[in-house]
Symmetry: C2
Subunit: 416 residues, 2 copies
């Protein structure tokens, strides 16, 4: 089954609103084993919207629209979809009861134009909206379906989960199972040169890369009739990839949005260890990413942003002579930051970061991008220099990733 | 001039990556007075990509693609655009020098497949990439242009600003001068109901809102023949807006990506004041955003992430009885965090945040979204509760914004 998504709205087209619905629907469709070839965004323009719906119907089995179900003259999605399907529009008693009920329940006066929201293509299945006035619908004709969903994510998501997901599952009968290998410490092109043949030759499951700042992820996707069939096939492909890439795979997960910090927090919890951080150039980024993982409170004891030298001394006990003699960005300072934190925090794993994120502050000796990481545990302290490139934000992001990776490895008892 | 955006990449199509480039480009095109009718996302599929490019060329003057310029076999955008324009692909010496130079500069080994990134449509203008290996290009034929940009935003944005914006300005012949009013403490719909008539009736300059989590920005854009003409017109419209909105406008700037933290750092520098932070639920987000402003080191003394109660006691000196009697999320704890920080850090402005970001940890008394802010300066300490809504990430983002806004107002000597 092939689906296509059309996002309707001038505010989306012009970039005033970010199209997060497209991402949400794409993920859910892919999890449901529905194939997606196109996503399109058009404004509130009748002619272009109708053309987009007709084109989508010519190449997909199911067309999902988002937006344009409201009460104003701009809200034209249902009418134009009905026209593309050659179905008449008519008042729908079930939908009218829903719209009227919403206003009663919310104690708000209803204006006449709200009844536009109760007019639907003939024979459409009405989808209740628990969080807004506009019901959605599924209109079918000649084996094709058009699904109209509201624009606000808080209305769209429950409607999808409640009404659309069951409809598509019943309609399709195929499952896609994905597994994600998260890679740190190897660039995209090197991953590709080591596994390119597998990417080209693997048909089911397929193998595909995608990368974000500092990380590469490989997605293994198996199309099957029952979810249970997938595991042995994915295991075999994963083993082949592991043989090529080895140690750089730091996590295997079934969710596409996993993260280094989640892996680190899980490893800390599994090991019953705690962590504390002392950050200079990353300025709290590592702490913030750790705290963003639900449940981090069990393992994250404290973090410090010691950006100024004075704070490195007063908060962490870095010696004045160390800062004066070696500088704030040095092996010695990184070590004393981690050691001081270890003494003061009581955490099992203490990480320090000090570096030059730029754009200013670089010297020939210590250029922008030089970052020292330090780590102190009961086994002792060590430090290492990173030589990072890019703008300030990228250098900070990469330094934070490296720091989180150290925490992950330390929590797992692996060598740093 | 009509443009069309095509985002290329299976990871975008399937929703693994959110298409923020589409929003960025749409905004910049609209600021440049370029009309946009369609945005499309397609996967790494040659046939569908070529069809999408051909269709876009049939209805637009300029087609901008994002993604698919990398070194792997998936990266097919340039080839298929060249085919749609009926131009041959050939190695480009200028681009090859850029690619080789990038690897030399970054001290990384270059694999052969990277030279794919130096093959371009004949006659194309090469666009340098300061932040990655893949140059972009502008290929023209029969009065139409295809612009190929890389997928990663940190490569795409500088390339757009440096090379594409001037190209489009030269092509269209008009100058657009924009001014941005940044608003905090008033929602989008209220801003719209207070200034909606100006938005509808202002033609040149135009007035348009953008909103992001917790903030609204109004853009005033003047189309003129020389940039110097703009100021008096923009001044007049700004005065009208100020009359309606008053105090909620916290900054006026000529860049669309300005931020609360930049305003705060500038205000601190102007006042010669320093700041320190003690964060619980925001987990270092405020410190991290402050440190991301170049030059923050002059004003930001230290930050602490005291997520655990033990850390609130040991790092900030919050009394055990306070935590036991009132809880970690309380006026009393917020005040003692700020006061303890003031005593220890020596900073002029000390901010504390403690709250419940969820999804767990809420109670009927202290629901998810309850956040206490505390502030201590030489004038004394005060605290205030926020009642925020949304998921964990949104609550943390909003709490951080409120905290940065307090710092900004305290630095300016305004009431909190």
């Amino acid at each position: 089954m092939i689906a296509e998504i059309i996002a309707v709205g001038t505010e989306l087209l012009m970039g005033q609103v970010l199209n997060t619905n497209g991402q949400y629907l794409a993920r859910r469709l892919s999890e449901a084993g529905v194939t997606l070839h196109h996503q399109t965004t058009v404004g509130d323009n009748p002619q272009r919207l109708e053309e987009a719906v007709r084109q989508a119907l010519s190449r997909a089995d199911v067309v999902i629209t988002t937006g344009g179900l409201g009460p104003t003259a701009d809200d034209i999605t249902k009418e134009l979809c009905a026209r593309a399907l050659d179905l008449p529009m008519e008042p729908n008693a079930e939908a009218e009861a829903m719209v009227r009920g919403w206003f009663v329940k919310n104690g708000r006066p209803m204006t006449d134009n709200n009844l536009r929201q109760a007019v639907f293509p003939r024979g459409a299945r009405i989808l209740p909206n628990g969080y807004g006035t506009a019901p959605g619908c599924i209109a079918e004709k000649d084996g094709k379906a058009v699904i109209n969903l509201p624009g606000p994510p808080r209305e769209l998501i429950p409607m999808y989960e409640q009404s659309v997901a069951p409809y598509l599952a019943a309609r399709s009968g195929a499952h896609l199972v994905s597994r994600y290998l998260r890679i740190f410490g190897m660039g995209e092109s090197q991953v590709e040169s080591l596994t390119g043949d597998l990417m080209r030759e693997s048909v089911n499951p397929t193998l595909a890369p995608y990368c974000s700042t500092g990380e590469v992820q490989l997605r293994l996707t198996m199309r099957c009739r029952t979810p249970e069939e997938a595991a042995p096939h994915l295991d075999r492909l994963e083993a082949q990839v592991r043989q090529r890439l080895g140690d750089v795979i730091y996590a295997v997960t079934d969710r596409p949005d996993d993260s280094m910090e989640r892996a680190a927090v899980e490893a800390l919890r599994a090991a019953g260890k705690t962590v504390a951080t002392a950050e200079s150039c990353t300025g709290g980024l590592i702490a913030s990413r750790l705290v963003n993982v639900p449940g981090a409170s069990q393992v994250f004891l404290q973090g410090h942003v010691t950006y100024a030298n004075r704070a490195k001394e007063s908060v962490l006990g870095v010696r004045h002579e160390t800062l004066a003699g070696f500088g704030a960005v040095s092996r010695e300072t990184a070590l004393e930051m981690a050691e001081g934190l270890f003494e003061r925090s009581g955490a099992d794993i203490c990480l320090s970061v000090t570096g030059i994120a730029g754009p200013d502050g670089g010297t020939p000796d210590k250029p922008v991008g030089l970052v020292w990481l330090g780590l102190c545990t009961a086994r002792g302290a060590r430090a290492q220099a990173l030589h990072l490139t890019g703008n300030r934000e990228r250098i900070r992001t990469l330094a934070a990733l490296h720091g989180l990776h150290w925490i992950l490895r330390a929590a797992r008892g692996q060598d740093i």
